[in-house]
Subunit: 205 residues, 2 copies
Amino acid sequence: MIIATDLEGVLIPEIWDAIASEYGIDELHLTTRDIPDFEELMEHRVNVLNREDLRLQDLQKVAQDVMAFPGSTEFLNWGRRRGQIMIISDTFHELSDPLVWEFGGYNLFANQFSTDSKGRITGYKLRIRGMKWRALEKLRDIGFFIVAIGDSHNDLSMLEEAHHPIFFNPPQELREKCSDFPVAETYDELRESILSVPAESIENP
Amino acid sequence: MIIATDLEGVLIPEIWDAIASEYGIDELHLTTRDIPDFEELMEHRVNVLNREDLRLQDLQKVAQDVMAFPGSTEFLNWGRRRGQIMIISDTFHELSDPLVWEFGGYNLFANQFSTDSKGRITGYKLRIRGMKWRALEKLRDIGFFIVAIGDSHNDLSMLEEAHHPIFFNPPQELREKCSDFPVAETYDELRESILSVPAESIENP
């Protein structure tokens, strides 16, 4: 069994929110709910960062103070004994690697920033965007049973293709739009949902 | 960067060899070098196990005493700080999970046994066989730089498709057959080989 999970919103709070609050820049609170196209949103963010002269290290300073949700480490430890955990996120390695390290060194598949010699963010490399599912597709083809956990629009492709998708605290509109997905609101409910999968299904996906 | 590595022969000794030695059954020393078709080899092994009345727990008892190669844990810890480690092996989860756990909980993509209620091995599910590369294909498509490490025939598909393949102590015939693959004989040489990849290549595979 492979447990593919989103990072922000499932295991840790949104990092861009923390950056926006720390530096008092409301425009950085915008998410794909406001600007649905992720690349457009990222261009906007990069422009704002450069206008405010915020550099990679300023973002990292905030990210390193972001605290994982209580219970997330225990949930991952539990999951690790039942399958292979893959954290698949539209976050950036430069911000999230230390947080994922604290969890215990899970695989994180995410994006990367491009910076100039002064640490100014000049762009980014999107490895995951819109392709969350693609990272898992072959593993499914080979015959692994896939559990996917996500909370937002950009997780839908991954959730739709998983054998056992779980929404973790999704916004109301998504709950309604995808009413056939099981919903979990706590890590206990996540565990229960995963345990509800018959062993037979996991063995023969 | 993704570091995809074989398990037996690279990080730990061959488990079937240990089983053969422990129970004094020479036929279990046979490998794909003797019976090139893996399924045929596995059928042979299962027949021998049943003939000798060896059950899953007897195999696990041997596997739990298999010692990882000295330096393998340190190599993985080193690699984990440079990329995502995926252990892709034709081994069986029932034998290797505890060993991989001792390394620190890396992702292991491997095969599984089928057993009856008495623990007799009735068959197996091949998830990886001949498909080592397929597990990585999509991650390569997305734009991850792939390092692959292997020592034998069944690693060739993975090595051939990787951006940076490394043979780890391969048999002489493979060294000659694939003379363009870099060879490492120690973990230090593995580290050097990985460090020799230009950062530019890793960023833009």
